[in-house]
């Protein structure tokens, strides 16, 4: 062989994003109407950019008394009929976290099987209220989702879309938290003058910005860098 250096492995890094939406009855009406405009906007962004299409895999889940997979993680260019979020029941965070744990494990294994390199996914978690299930149960489900032994433990960014929520009420459901290793995430609670629908429209904007920035990021070693969280400058109305 000549002295020509060999090109190291450069498998494509897939970026996995999940939208996890509270569809309890309090979200019915304008808030869920605004949520239902998120997927079409994300799909438009992906379809305008083949690069994003080739690296971004997107999934959506909802939760009330139970949790469901609304859109299995996949290539958004394959989506024909865009699924809708509809209101039902209460607010079980535990059901949401358990369903997410199940889906992530399954989805990442599939992506690796397709030859992608995959980092931990990012979860944009949208809610308008505190959980209605027992606190120990929620904590147990969250601990299982973020277990250090789970390779797919996600970056979780909770968004509270009503100012009635105390500013720090969603901090327990952030992952990773400061000081626990990995780049720390944070939660956001809307504190602007608009309603929940206004807040949700802003989430759509920062979600899309985060997807685009992630696809262009590099890490300290100069390789594709993975998830770039929302920029606080874009969330001036949020606490």
């Amino acid at each position: 062989m000549s002295d020509v250096p060999q090109v190291p492995d450069d498998r494509t890094l897939a970026l996995a994003f999940y939208l996890l939406v509270d569809v309890s009855y309090s979200m019915d009406g304008a808030p869920l109407d605004a949520v239902n405009r998120i997927l079409p906007e994300v799909i438009d962004t992906i379809e305008e950019s083949p690069t994003l299409g080739d690296v971004v895999r997107f999934g959506a889940l909802d939760f009330a008394d139970d949790a469901r997979t609304v859109l299995p993680l996949g290539d958004l260019r394959d989506v024909r009929a865009i699924p809708q979020f509809t209101a039902r029941g209460g607010t079980s965070y535990a059901a949401a976290f358990r369903r997410l744990r199940h889906d992530i494990g399954h989805d990442l294994a599939r992506l690796r099987g397709e030859g992608f390199q995959v980092y931990r996914p990012a979860v944009f978690f949208v809610t308008d209220g505190a959980p209605t299930d027992a606190v120990p149960e929620v904590r147990a489900a969250f601990a299982e989702l973020t277990d250090p032994g789970f390779r797919g433990r996600p970056n979780i960014i909770p968004f509270g879309v009503t100012p009635e929520l105390p500013g720090d009420s969603l901090e327990p459901w952030v992952h990773p938290k400061p000081g626990t290793g990995g780049k720390p995430m944070r939660s956001y609670v809307y504190g602007g003058a608009g309603d929940a629908a206004t807040a949700i429209r802003q989430i759509a904007d920062v979600l899309i910005s985060s997807i685009v920035a992630s696809a262009n990021s590099v890490n300290d070693a100069g390789a594709a860098g993975g998830f770039v969280p929302p920029d606080d400058d874009d969330l001036g109305d949020w606490i």
Partner: protein, 358 residues
């Protein structure tokens, strides 16, 4: 000449906002040296300016003066192919705030059809040629056949060859910093977002990342792999590898150009991040001849010294240099009666055409 006070711009209408800058239309601004042109103001964010540091004003002025120094005919050709900074815009304190550039002509814009109905208008980036035909159809992109794809690739080669001839390294070549008009009567391209370009022998203005993911040349990938394995305490080795990773040269430009050509020719799902040139090699051999196919392989060589010059690509895709399968070349955008005609070996530079073999 190279500076323009912010207050001289008049009204500003925001057009777009990105991670590094916000772009405004300055609808009332007229410049005597560019009659009939409309202009945009690219205002860098505070973070971008901080990253550039105290060298920002000097670096941007260097960009502007570089263009000012080109002979008139070459400057016209330059402007026809590159959206280049025309003035440094300075605030009330005389500090650099951004740059003034020509507005991108309408024919480089695309109305994308949205899923929810309605249209989204934005510049037609070259990466839209990498995608699959069904998605392109759904979003309203015009179909571009193999012949026009080759003509667009040749137009990119011509623009990059012109930059290299002027000792400008393009740098962060990706699917987003070339825009195109596929009009079969005159397929053409514009080089945009030249912030990461540099005149050889000088530093880039911004400390921006030198390579976009999925566009890193092999020399950067090799440095990346070593960096990932490095003992963090070995700061000397870290600095050395970072410098190797950040390398940008005419040969890394050629590598990235070849990736772009391959992705344009063998488009489809996965093509925007693909490095395997087999599909494009076959198309090039069939449509432009064995020499063009060999150029693709050489351009993607892990060793920079094996890669050809941009002008080799321009020549190989010229109808006279092919097997006669390429359509006629695009009409020159501008010609000049008084252009100087530099010569290198048996190559001759012709404004509006680029390098031709004499």
């Amino acid at each position: 000449m190279s500076e323009l006070p912010l207050r001289r711009l008049g009204r500003l209408e925001q057009l777009a906002r990105g991670g590094t800058a916000t772009v405004f239309l300055a609808p009332d601004l007229r410049l005597p040296d560019l009659p009939g042109s409309r202009f945009v103001y690219k205002r860098y964010t505070g973070a971008t300016k901080r990253r550039a540091g105290p060298s920002l004003a000097g670096g941007l002025s260097g960009f502007v003066r570089f263009r000012d120094r080109l002979p008139d005919a070459q400057r016209a050709t330059w402007d026809a192919r590159i959206i280049w900074p025309l003035r440094v815009v300075v605030d009330e304190d005389g500090a650099a705030d951004g740059v003034l550039m020509r507005l991108i002509p309408d024919r480089y814009f695309q109305d994308f059809r949205k899923r929810s109905g309605g249209l989204h208008r934005k510049p037609r980036e070259i990466e839209t040629l990498f995608g699959d035909d069904a998605t392109a159809r759904r979003t309203g992109l015009p179909p571009v056949d193999a012949g026009d794809r080759l003509r667009l690739i040749r137009a990119v080669a011509g623009a990059y060859a012109m930059m290299h001839r002027q000792n400008v390294v393009v740098g962060d070549v990706s699917g987003r910093n070339i825009i195109y008009d596929p009009d079969p009567a005159r397929p053409s391209v514009l080089v945009v977002d030249v912030d990461s370009a540099r005149v050889r022998g000088t530093r880039a203005v911004f400390g921006m990342q030198p390579h976009t993911p999925n566009w890193q040349p092999p020399e950067a990938l090799a440095a990346s792999a070593e960096l990932a394995r490095l003992d963090p305490a070995d700061t000397d080795a870290h600095d050395r590898l970072r410098a190797r990773w950040a390398v940008q040269s005419t040969t890394t430009d050629v590598y990235k150009f070849a990736l772009m050509a391959a992705r344009i020719l063998a488009n489809g799902r996965g093509a925007a991040v693909r490095r395997d040139p087999a599909g494009a090699h076959r198309i090039l051999r069939e449509r432009a001849g064995a020499q063009a196919a060999a150029l693709l392989d050489a351009s993607l060589s892990p060793a920079g010294r094996d890669r050809p010059a941009m002008r080799d690509w321009y020549e190989a895709l010229h109808p006279a240099g092919s097997q006669g399968c390429l359509p006629e070349p695009e009409a020159p955008l501008r010609t000049s009666r008084n252009s100087e005609r530099p010569v290198s070996g048996d190559w001759e530079w012709t404004d509006g055409q680029g390098w031709t073999r004499g």
